[in-house]
């Protein structure tokens, strides 16, 4: 069990491509941590640098109380599960699980013992003599996990652990992985591009863009209080409404309409400042009668989400998405007024996209 410390870590590829850019991050012992971001943001490179498969250009990686920056992967006491699981096709399940133990020089009985135990934990008994090609995707994943567990590592690294499973299995595997990590209590870092996966599984996550961390926090913090418009836009299965506005005294001018400026942010803005108003569709309520200080629009599209509907209103040239409960959708073409749930409106500076009341943003990066 160990804490992971990354200090001013950079990975620069030839051609001055900064895949990881001066990144500092601490992952406490036993945490389930997600690296989240769009493709090409450097999250996989970061994971591979922690693993030692990529050499850090500068900065350091510490696992527990050891500086492992210059150590080869095999000496870092970690286990990695690859996106394609990397099971060896010519070995049976039990050979696959015990192969790392063979490398570590364990006696044959001990290897088999530990392999069978790890296999049992992941309900692989009965499959131990099969080849990987004779297993389903979910079973293959469990073999890869068993192989990682059997080595008793300090740290687990998962690269896109769920991306090779079909949609339904993915939900099961999500729950399964979370429980497994909790039971083992091993510090775990996983990479994903799927924000829903990160929100569901991780204790904390880092949202990355262009080799830098844009926000670190729990699922709740990242979802409710994104510190910049990038994170605001990236997190959430329905994208956050980001509306250009300008401050007019103690109100906002949105699409030519006067909209209430929430009291809690008033002291962070100045009159005439150009801002972006961010509010999630889930945190807006819609009314079919005029509401003072609300934003008026015309219902343009209604999308069914199952238990709710996503209603898109058009106000001038802006569109605003609102979720409304099942059965309460306003008719298309009708006038409607939206008001935010108190305390859920975020105001970002137009020039840099950072939250106006979040000086923390600078400290995080």
């Amino acid at each position: 069990m160990a804490q992971i410390d990354l200090v001013n870590l950079s990975k620069v590829y030839p051609g001055d491509v900064r895949a990881v850019d001066d990144l500092t991050l601490t992952i406490p012992d036993g945490e389930f941590f997600a690296l989240l971001g769009p493709s090409g943001c450097g999250k996989t490179t970061l994971l591979r640098t922690i693993a030692g498969l990529e050499e850090a250009t500068s900065g350091s990686v510490r696992i527990g109380d050891r500086d492992v920056t210059r150590l080869p992967p095999g000496k870092r006491e970690l286990a990695m599960v690859f996106q394609d699981y990397a099971l060896f096709p010519h070995m049976t399940v039990v050979d696959n699980i015990s192969y790392p133990l063979k490398i570590k020089g364990l006696a044959k009985e001990d290897r088999l013992d530990r392999a069978v135990k790890a296999g049992d934990e992941l309900s692989l008994d009965g499959l131990m003599e099969r080849r990987p090609s004779e297993l389903s995707g979910g079973q293959q994943q469990r073999v890869a996990l068993a192989r990682a567990i059997a080595t008793h590592p300090q740290v687990f690294l998962f690269d896109e652990p769920l991306s090779n499973l079909d949609a339904r299995l993915r939900l099961e595997a999500r729950t399964f992985l979370k429980r497994l990590q909790r039971d083992l209590g091993v510090t775990t870092v996983f990479v994903t591009h799927d924000q829903a996966e990160a929100l569901a599984m991780a204790d904390r996550m880092a949202v990355m863009q262009s080799g830098r961390i844009r926000q670190v926090g729990t699922a709740r913090e990242v979802f409710q209080h994104p510190v910049n418009t990038f994170v605001a836009n990236f997190i959430g299965s329905t994208p956050m409404n980001l509306l250009d506005a300008s401050v007019r005294g103690d109100a906002l001018d949105v699409a030519g309409q006067r909209v209430d400026l929430p009291e809690d942010v008033r002291r962070h803005v100045t009159d005439g400042q150009e801002v972006v108003v961010g509010v999630r569709p889930e945190y807006l309520t819609v009314s079919s009668s005029a509401v003072d200080g609300g934003l008026q629009g015309v219902v343009a599209i209604v999308e069914n989400l199952g238990t709710a509907a996503l209603v898109t209103l058009e106000a001038d040239d802006l569109s605003v998405a609102v979720t409304v409960p099942d059965g309460e959708e306003p008719p298309i073409g009708a006038d409607a007024w939206v008001t935010p749930v108190p305390g859920r409106v975020l105001i970002y500076r137009r020039e840099d996209g950072e939250l106006v009341d979040a000086p923390v943003a600078a400290a995080v990066g």
Partner: protein, 273 residues
């Protein structure tokens, strides 16, 4: 089936049978003539005898030449597999500019190295190196000729081994040698066995290179020895030629059957899943 179709069918099968017989005749000659006391060039019911074999054994070069063939073939196969595997591995893993051009160029050149056209310079080269009349020289020249195609074929196998296999083993602490031995080689084993058999067959049947580079009759392989089976009158000695041909073919066929059963042949990469 109408009578017309029936006649068509009969005609077709007759034609196929004739064609098959045409190609089967030499094979039949090969297995029957060695046991015939009066061998001829025509296929005949043999007058059974094993005398041809004892006559062949009396030839002091016969068995030795088969041994020479095995030495040359196995030596070349070992060299080709070892070098082709390592070269293909690096070509597959390291990105260098112009890699594909290099590969195609190699393939093109390979037909020249052991080809007739290059025989004179190769002879001179071997002469300068003092490798004339040496089995090592023959093995080197043959390896040089076969390597490019072997690299070309094996690179395809290497490409099909996912990088994550090796990285996974590396994270577990495996050394490069362990990765090669435990992961890469087993995965591409069909490729390696294909290359070895292909090399052995090529060397086994090669006449020109050993004929030119070897002087000593004690060192000549079976393919070269075959040329010497003439009677004093200058006509081909059919007893010896047919018997020796049979002995010459058997090892290759046995090897083919053995390797095919044990490892299987494939000329393309890819993991069965």
């Amino acid at each position: 089936m109408s009578p017309r179709e029936m006649v068509g069918r009969i005609g077709f099968y007759t034609l196929v049978a004739l064609a098959t017989a045409f190609f089967a005749l030499p094979m039949l000659w090969l297995v029957s003539t060695p046991f015939d006391a009066q061998p001829g060039l025509a296929l005949a019911i043999p007058d059974p005898t094993l005398g041809n074999f004892s006559e062949l054994l009396d030839n002091r070069y016969a068995l030795g030449s088969l041994l020479n063939s095995i030495l040359l073939a196995v030596g070349t196969a070992l060299l080709v597999v070892a070098f082709a595997a390592t070269a293909a591995y690096s070509l597959s893993r390291v990105r260098i500019p112009g890699r594909d051009v290099l590969l195609y160029l190699l393939l093109l050149l390979s037909s020249i190295v052991t080809g007739t056209a290059a025989m004179v310079p190769i002879f001179l080269l071997m002469f300068e190196l003092g490798l004339i009349d040496s089995r090592v020289g023959v093995v080197l020249v043959l390896s040089g000729g076969l390597l490019p195609a072997a690299i070309f074929i094996l690179k395809d196998f290497m490409d099909s081994v996912p990088k994550s296999y090796e990285e996974s083993a590396r994270v577990f602490g495996a050394s490069s040698f362990q990765i090669l031995k435990d992961v890469v080689v087993p995965v591409i084993r069909p490729g390696l066995s294909t290359i070895s058999v292909w090399t052995i067959v090529n060397v086994w049947g090669n006449f020109l290179v050993p004929f030119i580079l070897l002087r000593d009759a004690d060192k000549q392989p079976a393919a070269v020895l075959m040329r010497t089976f003439y009677t004093e009158g200058g006509s081909p000695n059919l007893e010896l030629i047919s018997t020796f041909s049979l002995l010459f073919s058997v090892p290759v066929i046995v090897m083919y059957l053995f390797v095919n059963r044990k490892y299987g042949f494939r000329f393309y990469g890819g993991i069965k899943s």
